[in-house]
């Protein structure tokens, strides 16, 4: 049959298992696709794909496997112009022709379409042979044929199997950048319940008390349990200004998600420009009156804080590598030294980056690579944050 399709889907990152595949086989056996190709497409999708985020990947795999060509590009503009008449009257439905059309295989339709394309010299509509509109032909648009290839025009009855080619689900992909709610959901991965942490049981446990008291026929047995709250402490350091202006909206969304969650046991947020040097700032305007020395941070915030950097890691190398003119005793000697100290103190650290590795300007890549060498770097997307949060929780 088409087992290869299963492996193609798996190779595209869709976690399709044998359970789902067997369900599909059973469904085909029961004729749930109603012997139509669109039906088959929907059947495959609702049994094999379990998240709208994967619809796009599925659509592409489906197209690649069952169809390799994209029609919109290979038909002439002349033909497309003939076909652009959405408000024309509908042709007549022909039962026999419909049955005949349905009996055609995808491959037959494909070959016939190639022939027609070469033969057709003028506009033909409401018919059953040429590429045209409003008719029983298997090609064209606004037509009545139960199967076929849509060429140009607006989707009407959505019967043509080409709908997969529209990629309507592109926006649901995980690697899209995100809104606050999605961010919050992604951040919720960052939790470590004290139930897992070693703490004495200190919270009165109503359920077990009742249960055990009842079990011992009314003799009071008081039970305690470990308190269950998120024990994660977060230290968030955000790049502000300069090249980060492009991502202001994204960063503000992240900021709101983090603060609004009220979810972490403790949350400290500081700002810097390009690279933290000796000081970090409490507000994004980098007001020097409201600054904190990095050394204070290093000695006052315990290593259990999870460190999250947000920045594009793009700067000229001297901004990160040049030693400071006269470093004070015990303070970082350069930008990269400061990063290294933070990294050593906070073992659980990630860097979320809203931009890709720069492909131009060798110097900028140099600083980017230096930072990536120090911190595990993830893109500032839902998927990136989720992997990052997992990394932060790994012991």
């Amino acid at each position: 049959m088409f087992e290869d399709f299963l492996y193609l889907l798996r190779s595209r990152g869709l976690k399709v298992s044998l359970t789902e595949w067997m369900a599909l086989v059973q469904a085909l056996h029961e004729n749930l696709h109603q012997a139509s190709f669109t039906g088959f497409y929907h059947l495959c999708r609702c049994l094999l794909v379990k998240s709208e985020a994967d619809f796009d990947a599925f659509d592409r795999a489906f197209l690649d496997y069952f169809q390799e060509v994209d029609f919109q590009q290979e038909v002439s503009q002349e033909l497309l112009n003939w076909l652009d008449r959405p408000n024309a009257p509908m042709g007549e439905y022909d039962e026999q022709q419909a049955e005949l059309n349905e009996s055609l295989s995808t491959l037959e339709i494909e070959t016939m379409f190639q022939e027609r394309k070469n033969e057709q010299r003028e506009q033909h509509n409401c018919g059953n042979y040429w590429v045209g509109t409003h008719g029983m032909s298997i090609f064209g648009n606004m037509g009545l044929s139960p199967v076929g290839i849509r060429v140009g025009g607006q989707s009407q009855s959505r019967r043509a199997f080409r709908v997969a080619g529209e990629r309507r689900y592109r926006d649901f992909r995980h690697d899209n950048t995100l809104d606050i709610r999605q961010l919050q959901v992604a951040l919720r991965r960052l939790r470590q319940f004290s139930g897992l942490v070693d703490l004495p049981p200190s919270e009165f446990d109503v359920d077990s008390t009742i249960q055990d008291t009842a079990n011992s026929a009314g003799l009071l047995k008081v039970r305690y349990k470990k308190p269950r709250q998120n024990t994660v402490k977060v230290l968030l350091l955000m790049d502000s200004g300069g090249s980060m202006e492009h991502y202001a909206q994204l960063c503000s969304a992240l900021f709101q998600a983090v603060t609004r969650a009220g979810y972490f046991k403790e949350l400290k947020i500081f700002y810097f420009h390009n690279c933290p040097y000796t000081r970090l700032y409490r507000d994004p305007t980098l007001n020097p009156n409201n600054a904190v020395p990095v050394s204070w941070l290093l000695s006052n915030l315990t290593p259990e804080y999870k460190l999250i950097f947000v920045g594009d890691a793009q700067m000229s190398p001297h901004e990160i590598f040049d030693p400071f003119p006269s470093p004070r005793e015990g303070e970082p000697a350069s930008g990269v030294d400061c990063l290294r100290r933070l990294r050593e103190r906070y073992r659980h650290a990630v860097w979320l980056n809203p931009s890709d590795r720069p492909e131009w300007g060798g110097e900028w890549t140099e600083s980017y690579d230096a930072i990536e060498g120090l911190f595990p770097m993830y893109p500032l997307t839902v998927e990136g944050i989720e992997t990052g949060m997992k990394k932060l929780l790994a012991r």
């Binding site: 359970t19 749930l32 609702c46």
Partner: protein, 269 residues
Amino acid sequence: MKEFKGSQNYVASEELLRAANIAMVLEKPLLIKGEPGTGKTMLAEAIAQALGKNLIIWNIKSTTKAQDGLYVYDVVQRLYDSQFGGQGVDDIEKYVRLGKLGEAFTAEEQVILLIDEIDKADLEFPNDLLWELDRMEFHIPETGRTVKASHRPVVIITSNAEKELPDAFLRRCVFHYIEFPDKELMADIVRVHYPDIQEKLLTQVLEAFYKIRSLPQIKKKPSTSEIIDWIQALQHGGVDVGRIVKEVPYLGVLLKKNEDIDMLRRTWR
């Protein structure tokens, strides 16, 4: 096997009907996801109505545990009864109350079971139900009884995607994502609610509605239930049809956030 073809009060897309039927034939739970206000909960009611079956709704809250759906053993009541010398304290069966899932299993005939907003519960919740949904049975250790479904209920599960559902759970479901309806489908939906709405009013309302939804700055996009309410407000207030797109009267019905309303008032031309 009866087939579901949509109902008088519910307009479903062809894909949705297909998914519903696939789930029923394969006897797998149907998992419905989609934007709030796309009628996920309504679907179960419509299916129940169309097939003439009873609907059992299990509303999930953040505190709901899988156990609650199976049965509750009321120890406190038993304790009381034993202290005050009530009748039949030694009959544990008397203190076991079945939850919604148990109710669906023990029903005399096939029922529709709606597990509403499953993503509200704890992350582990769906995993705790795997066996029960697969085998359609569970065991009550207190009484030694096994509750087994005599008629497999049709299970419909809705989710707002607030939490990811575990893979093992997803694997057992038929999945359908309800897209936000396009203009034509929305017109059909509105006509179901207001059969004698004027065409002119409807076109104007739809135009304004989809224009608002297309604005990128809107934080909370209005959904189906809001357009239905809005039409009612417009009809009730007897607003002149020509003013709808121009002025968007009763904006508060459509937009629920202050910042959205302010933004719209500023930028609407």
